[in-house]
């Protein structure tokens, strides 16, 4: 079996309970697992409704009998201190605002080891041992964000700023190969705002979330991406706003899949786990997932680390053209790669291999599950990767042959525009989509017990997503960001987003070394 030995999700905490062997001082065997967070209850506000215990899917809250009133037992919520991950769901659900999630202070005298001590105990834990530590979402590493070190220019005196409330501002972009010499013009994707929903598969998230994404994409005039888990038949109707993804597992790749999409993306890598495949455990492969992925129910869905038919660039070219032939050259083909050290020549190679769009995913890019060490220590920031790729494509004079999409750690509209100024034509957002749906970023999507009902396919939990409300939330988010982008553009005196793609003149860097400024192609502030 190809299964990696990975950590099982923490359950209700029974494994950690002191077994009470009489001594209480037995090393290791009786240790409690270190927990970082817990809910604290304000019992003066609490009405003992018990909603929090139902809301919590992690087994952190138990109800303990308090007293009997008029023959009815009253229970009181108590924290187990076993499995809270600070998802904040109970806190946000409590009708009385009686819950606060707090950090449990961890006092360690050793500054160097402090961060790793707890992980090390987890890996050695005799009660639940031997694990590759799993983690979800994008890297939370303390490395600085280059986005935060970049400032936009603004018009003063010599050039009038443009007021987006009074003047037209255009954010429409076209993604694809702009080959004006070609007799048969390659297909382009028209995007009304340069923000697309990133790949998240059916399996990693549930169908209700995908439907909300697809509906929101249609309303916004942008695209959503199926991820590698195939295209559920209920989503056929959103073909005009769908990008389907072909990954190493080739899940759900079928004529229907190619018919009901606007573009096809070949996934080579993902920022959170460059060089690593995926693994959806068999117990999560439900009926619907089995049909959509075209694999047996209950079978592990394994995506190999490489595509087993792509061992070099010429193989990628064959796959790109196999897909173009299949779709009769009517749909642009995108290739998604992780931002790695050698990204510039890799991107140039992909462009020459025939890709119409290249999506680069930085190390902050999200994931449903990745080994923690990979997520925290592989890949490079998207800011540097997109700039290096854009520069290289220009040097090779093929920049207009391909569109670039930046992904991985885009937190707000300023990040979107900074990525564009560094050379992206558009961006993918993934984590931001989940956060818009409520996600508390507890980084435990792999456990499939998402209390918000996002990254789980348990029917009872998935019900927590209301498709219409979710769609509205996504539309609100993207419209708000688009309005903010227009404000930023107006301040810079620019009324068409195309005039910002790779326009590093409109950025200045602060607290960056000369080498960093050089890679970003940005001048020091004040210059």
């Amino acid at each position: 079996m190809l299964q990696r030995n990975v950590e099982k999700p923490a359950d209700d905490g029974s494994a950690n309970k002191n077994t009470g062997n009489g001594h209480g001082l037995n090393m290791l065997r009786n240790w409690r697992r270190p927990v970082k967070y817990m809910p604290v209850f304000d019992y003066t506000r609490c009405t003992r409704c018990g909603l929090c215990a139902t809301a919590c899917t992690w087994g952190e809250i138990r109800l303990v009998p308090e007293k009997v009133v008029e023959g009815k037992p009253i229970t009181i919520p108590v924290a187990n201190r076993s499995s809270c991950g600070a998802c904040h769901y109970c806190e946000r659900q409590c009708p009385e605002d009686a819950i606060t999630i707090v950090d449990i202070p961890f006092v360690s005298s050793h500054r160097y080891w402090r961060g790793d001590q707890k992980n090390l105990w987890r890996q050695a834990d005799p009660n639940n041992p031997g694990h590759v530590l799993l983690i979800s979402t994008g890297s939370d590493s303390a490395l600085m964000s280059y986005f935060d070190q970049l400032m936009f220019d603004a018009c003063q005196v010599t050039n009038p700023p443009i007021d987006p409330l009074r003047e037209p501002m255009e954010t429409r972009v076209f993604l694809g190969r702009k080959d004006f010499s070609a007799a048969e013009k390659p297909p382009l994707l028209q995007v009304e705002t340069p923000i697309l929903f990133s790949a998240m598969s059916f399996g990693s998230i549930n169908l209700r979330v995908q439907i909300a994404e697809a509906k929101a994409a249609r309303e916004l005039g942008t695209y959503w991406n199926t991820g590698e888990g195939g295209l559920h038949k209920q989503l056929n109707e959103y073909a005009g706003n769908t990008i389907v993804q072909v990954a190493s597992g080739r899940f759900g790749v079928s004529p229907r899949f190619f018919r009901n999409c606007s573009g096809v993306e070949i996934k080579i890598g993902q920022g959170a786990k460059p060089g690593i495949g995926g693994h959806l455990p068999g117990e999560k492969v439900t009926d619907e997932i089995s049909k959509t992925r075209m694999i047996p129910k209950g079978a592990d869905a394994l995506s190999p680390a490489p595509h087993h038919d792509i061992y070099s660039i010429e193989d990628l070219r064959q796959l790109i053209f196999a897909i173009k032939e299949t779709t009769r050259y009517r749909k642009p083909v995108s290739v998604k790669v992780s931002a790695v050290h050698n990204i510039a020549p890799i991107v140039a190679g992909i462009a020459r291999a025939g890709a119409d769009i290249i999506a680069i995913d930085g190390f902050r890019g999200g994931t449903g599950a990745a080994p923690r060490r990979i997520r925290q220590s592989m890949g490079i920031p998207i800011e540097l990767a997109i700039s290096a790729a854009d520069k290289r494509l220009r040097e090779e004079k093929i920049r207009d042959q391909v569109s670039l999409i930046a992904a991985g750690g885009i937190r707000n509209s300023a990040d979107v525009l900074k990525a564009i100024c560094l050379g992206a034509d558009a961006v993918y957002i993934g984590t931001a989509v989940l956060v818009a749906l409520g996600c508390g970023l507890c980084q435990r999507c792999y456990a499939s017990r998402c209390s918000y009902g996002i990254t789980t396919n348990r029917p009872d939990l998935a019900q927590r997503i209301d498709i219409d409300i979710a769609q509205e939330a996504l539309v609100n988010l993207v419209q708000a960001w688009t309005d903010e982008i227009k404000e930023l553009m107006g301040g810079m005196g620019i009324n068409t987003i195309g005039s910002l793609v790779g326009n590093r003149e409109r950025l200045r860097g602060i607290h960056l070394t000369e080498d960093e400024l050089d890679v970003l192609g940005v001048k020091q502030a004040g210059k």
């Binding site: 003047e167 037209p168 972009v173 004006f180 920049r399 207009d400 005196g493 005039s499 590093r504």
Partner: protein
């Protein structure tokens, strides 16, 4: 803020340089004395086939290096100091030289048969490409010297100072030409130097510009993919290169080129007929990097055609006047009182909609 004035006699009749000095002088307030210049076409009828290089050199040494560089790459028919007149307000000027040249160290090297081309037209295209590369290479290699203009039968006369003083300095008042553009500068983005004054010129193209190209970074990136080198430290130069790229190299019409540089808004494209919509959509899809963003009013000419254009929000002034076969463009209407007091009509150029004026029939100012 800058002032621009241009004029073209479509019947090939001549317009007096003295009038253009007066026309730009009357806009004195629009400049601050840190730059001005003139481009005139059809001024070297005695050498119509030779590329007229106007070269400015800061020092004797730069002038020597420039001379060696030119002679190493070009056949020089005539070389001379630019005729100038001392003007008290121009306290310093570079050494100004004029060369009439032909590509190739000797005239013999470039006979049609040796080039492997069969028509005069092909030959000219090849020579133009050579000259373009020569000029970029010159501006990159020779420290303290730059080429002001390199077209045939035309020239750019520019520098640091008020345009009326520079006009006197360059003896513009003695010149007559069917096509003129002129500029008064109030620099805001870059320091003032002789190379940064307008008009900017490449081959027969020259441009005067009032405004700021906020999309400069994108335009420069795009042009660099086609081997244009932006060496003059000012946003305006990209305009002349974009015209050269699209019209001369890629053989696009002036109308399409203008639609690329200052396209209609998407909402406006929705309203036009299907054929036009298809074309405009295509141009916007394929050439977003060549779009000029920011406030601008520009006059562009190649001696045969003159294009007046505004950004599509009309953030800079530009007015037009017609007087018989003569067309005039200016930042301010007052200039027309000098150029054509008896004019047929005067109108404001709408934002994003260019005015294109062509020489009549086979009249060709540059030929």
């Amino acid at each position: 803020m800058c002032g621009i004035v241009g004029g073209i006699d479509t019947a090939g009749g001549v317009l007096s340089g003295a009038d253009f000095i007066q026309a730009i002088k009357i806009q004195h307030e629009r400049g601050n004395g840190l730059g001005g210049g003139f481009a005139a076409y059809g001024i070297y009828p005695e050498f119509p086939d030779y590329y007229a290089l106007h070269v400015a050199c800061d020092t004797e040494r730069a002038a020597r290096e420039a001379d060696e560089f030119i002679r190493a790459h070009l056949y020089v028919k005539i070389t001379e100091d630019m005729p100038t007149k001392d003007v008290t307000s121009i306290t310093w000027h570079p050494l100004l030289k004029r060369y009439f040249t032909y590509p190739g160290p000797s005239n013999e090297d470039l006979k049609l048969s040796n080039l492997g081309v069969t028509t005069v037209h092909e030959e000219r295209e090849m020579l133009d490409v050579f000259m373009k590369k020569f000029v970029f290479s010159f501006n990159r290699s020779i420290r303290g010297a730059f080429v002001m203009s390199c077209g045939r039968n035309m020239g750019v006369f520019k520098g640091v100072g008020y345009p009326e003083d520079l006009g006197e300095f360059y003896l513009i008042d003695k010149m007559k030409a069917p096509v003129w553009i002129t500029h008064s500068r109030f620099p805001t983005n870059t320091q003032s130097w002789w190379g940064g004054a307008h008009p900017f010129s490449l081959l027969e193209w020259s441009v005067v510009h009032n405004g700021e190209i906020t999309s400069y970074g994108v335009n420069r990136n795009y042009l660099e993919m086609f081997d244009y080198e932006c060496t003059l430290k000012t946003d305006t130069e990209v305009i002349s290169y974009l015209f050269d790229l699209f019209v001369r190299e890629q053989k696009m019409s002036l109308e399409d080129t203008c639609s690329i540089l200052s396209p209609p808004l998407w909402d406006e494209i929705e309203k036009v007929d299907d054929r036009e919509k298809k074309k405009l959509t295509y141009l916007r899809q394929y050439y977003p990097q060549a779009l000029l963003n920011g406030p601008f009013a520009i006059l562009v000419t190649n001696g045969k055609e003159m294009i007046a254009m505004n950004d599509n929000l009309k953030l800079r002034p530009l007015v037009c006047a017609q007087s018989g076969d003569r067309f005039f463009f200016s930042s301010e209407e007052c200039s027309f009182e000098v150029l054509c007091p008896e004019r047929g009509k005067t109108w404001m150029l709408p934002g994003g909609r260019p005015a294109i004026v062509r020489m009549k029939g086979d009249v060709d100012a540059a030929a």
